[in-house]
């Protein structure tokens, strides 16, 4: 069963900063369930692919450290009751918001905990983040993916929507190490000066994106593979597929009806774009931002937001 593949890949591995660490809250059952999750907002130094050490913030879950600047993921079913308890170990207040689901939630003070409850919305791709610190929270890493599966248990992007054989979540993000250094040193930073120089897919930088888990896009020829792009960064991501055209299914959960067949898919700020990739040929092909300076880490190419697709 392909769903099992997804579950399996989502839970694979535990090495910090080596896997995307999607946390699965539901068992994939069709009936609504109650999901309880605990996140701890923490700051820590992470070793980048080029060896540099950069201070980042994360929402960590109890099941293991999420990756990089980076993130833990939620997968829930439409209609689930979800309770996310956030313990704030940062030096400033934060909150927990999901654009399109809940905004302007109460903040949680440093050292305190607060539970954020919501009913899982219509099936689709979402992301969660901190809404108190503006873009700085996101740039420092307080963001992650949320996938809502249809209530009927189908492998579809939404109830009655395009079906798929496998699915991958590619959560794109970036950081400007000058911001991270300022925050680490207790200083301030003007986001108007933000120019990222590290780029990630699921918190990983190439070639760490290729080492397995759920960021190496493994596919079978003839399959329809769903890829969910979520822009959790602070720049836009024009994602280019080598080897394939894809069908854009929806942008921010609005069905695309005009510009569908694409090899380059723009993922705007704070946006989610779902595509179906009909796997028409075997081979290994890159999938990367065509803002090619984003295929770097600290200016070194090829790192950054470069993903490989492997079809056999």
């Amino acid at each position: 069963m392909k769903r099992r593949d997804f579950l399996k890949s989502g839970m694979a591995g535990s090495a910090a900063f080596a896997l995307s660490g999607l946390t699965l809250l539901s068992s994939g059952k069709a009936q609504a369930a109650i999901s309880n999750i605990s996140f701890t907002a923490e700051g820590s130094n992470k070793t980048m692919v080029d060896g540099s050490s950069i201070f980042v913030w994360q929402f960590n879950d109890a099941n293991g450290t999420g990756p990089g600047a980076l993130t833990s993921g939620l997968v829930v079913n439409e209609g689930d009751s979800v309770n996310v308890t956030v313990t704030n170990n940062l030096d400033r207040a934060i909150n927990f918001v999901i654009p399109g689901v809940m905004a302007n939630t109460p903040s949680v003070s440093p050292g305190a905990s607060r539970t954020y409850s919501f009913t899982a919305p219509a099936a689709g791709s979402y992301f969660y983040t901190d809404g108190v610190n503006g873009e700085i929270g996101r740039a420092m890493g307080l963001a992650g993916p949320m996938v809502v599966m249809p209530a009927d248990g189908s492998n579809a992007l939404y109830s009655g929507g395009p079906a798929f054989d496998r699915q991958y979540t590619l959560f794109m993000s970036d950081l400007d190490d000058r911001l991270n250094a300022a925050v680490a040193n207790g200083g301030s930073y003007d986001m108007n000066n933000y120019e990222p120089n590290y780029f990630f897919a699921n918190g990983l930088s190439f070639p760490d994106t290729t080492t397995g888990g759920d960021t190496l896009v493994s596919m079978g020829v003839g399959e329809d593979v769903a890829i969910r792009f979520m822009n959790g960064g602070c720049v836009t991501y024009p994602m280019h597929f080598h080897g394939y055209h894809v069908n854009v299914a929806s942008r921010n959960r609005v069905v695309e009806t005009s510009v569908i067949e694409k090899d380059s898919v723009q993922v705007e700020l704070s946006s989610c774009v779902d595509v179906i990739l009909p796997v028409a040929q075997a081979g290994v092909f890159p999938l990367h931002t065509h803002y090619v300076p984003g295929v770097t880490a600290g200016g070194v190419y090829p790192n950054g937001g470069l993903i490989l697709m492997s079809a056999s």
Binding site: P207, V235, T236, P238, V284, Y291, P293, V295
Partner: protein, 329 residues
Amino acid sequence: MFELKELKMNHRGGRGGGGGGSTGGGTTGGTTTGGRTFSFLRAPASLNVNMNGSAIMADGASIRTWTFGNGFNDDRSVPSPVIEANQGENVEVTLNSMMEHTIHLHGLDVDQQNDGVPATSFAVGGEGNSNTYTYQFVAPHAGTYMYHCHVDTHKHFEMGMFGTIIIRPTDGSTNRVWDNGPTFDKEYIWQLTTFDTTWHSGGGMGGAVLQRYRPNYFMINGKDGANAVNDSTTAITGAAGQKVLIRINGTSYLPGIVRMGGLQFEVIASDGRPLAVPYITTEQLCCAGERYDILVTMPASGQYSASIEYRDIRNGKALGTASTTLTVV
């Protein structure tokens, strides 16, 4: 599974070395037949690499460039030559290079062997590599595509190693966009182009760390300012009522908003595929890697300012605008 080729992750910036091979080779289409306003190479095409090129800006600045070329008197230095083939043909594009380069056939969905990515196939030129390779593919769908070097792409693309591939309909028609598709009277290519000249300094060589792309020249087809107005492959002319096809190619790292001076136009295709539902608009965003084919019906009279406004990927602010004219003649 697969094995990655040598990744060469540790060198920073460009690697040293001289230019590519000599000029020559290739089949030239050359003339501006059909509705074309530009020169082109008819596949099979043969490309060399010129790493001693220069692009002259409207303010007189000479910017070092690297380009693909074949020695024929192309009308552009940057971008590299236009290549044409017909849908369904077996297409061959040969790269000759002493230095390490590739041709990635962007959007043509070629097989892994011909994808032009060193990490998943191989590079042409450089130590241990053959100095020539003929990329082969079957052109799948009539439309607008891109080719570019995929070695140290952030650097080589910026230096000018990119161009447009046009796949004509099966019958080779030059007044129809795709088989049984819309017709047109004139045809232009608008390739989004920006330069961060610090990335071109030192002849494109040197060990500078290339990060934080900050372009300071904003162009159409490698032309800025008055050069974009005076370039007959960029400035749009046509008789009243003529249908003008403009192939917009996202060959800048930045997104650009294309406008025809407020005139309405029809967006008919993107990324080499007809749109499911074409639409009418006065502006079209084209992001890095994307292509859009638009049809403008020339108005009764007048001259308009047609432009590309480049946007910051960070906050959407306008960073610079390249303008030319649309003139009814």
